[in-house]
Symmetry: C2
Amino acid sequence: MKLERHAKIIELIGKYAIETQEELAGRLNEAGFRVTQATVSRDIRELGLHKLRDDGGKYLYVSTRSRHGVNMSNKLATISPNR
Amino acid sequence: MKLERHAKIIELIGKYAIETQEELAGRLNEAGFRVTQATVSRDIRELGLHKLRDDGGKYLYVSTRSRHGVNMSNKLATISPNR
DNA sequence: GTTGAATATGAATTCAAA
DNA sequence: TTTGAATTCATATTCAAC
């Protein structure tokens, strides 16, 4: 089920430093969700997740919504160009 | 010169909706900076730029620093997982 | 230290299938 | 409507050259 998988994805990116969609697909499969990178790619878009470089230069998938349910999309807008 | 090119990149991503590094390289070349995608990739890392999906699903390069010189890296930290 | 060409890697999309 | 395999596309890196 897609909804459960989405919830699991949010959980996984909070718990682990997920660097690639393949890695996320692997974690999902370990958790019993049989999916491929193609599906993970779609899930990430639907969830509005972003891949950002951290201070160490590594890429990580992160959510734009905090644990407290606050939508951070306005903060993302803040760092967007004023166009 | 790299410094001038970096400044031009900041200007360009503020002025245009740059979707790919190839596109940015093209704009730079129009502006007289002869560079390839490989160099643009390095510049983007050095400048701390990020590629984000906007509300319409399109990808855009954005800066983490506002026009007013405020470093937004703490806001990025805010949307990062609490790890 | 900087760069480009070539390559490797990662991600989005297509297209068929269910 | 969702999915995976294959493909295309975008980006990071390697490696040589300067």
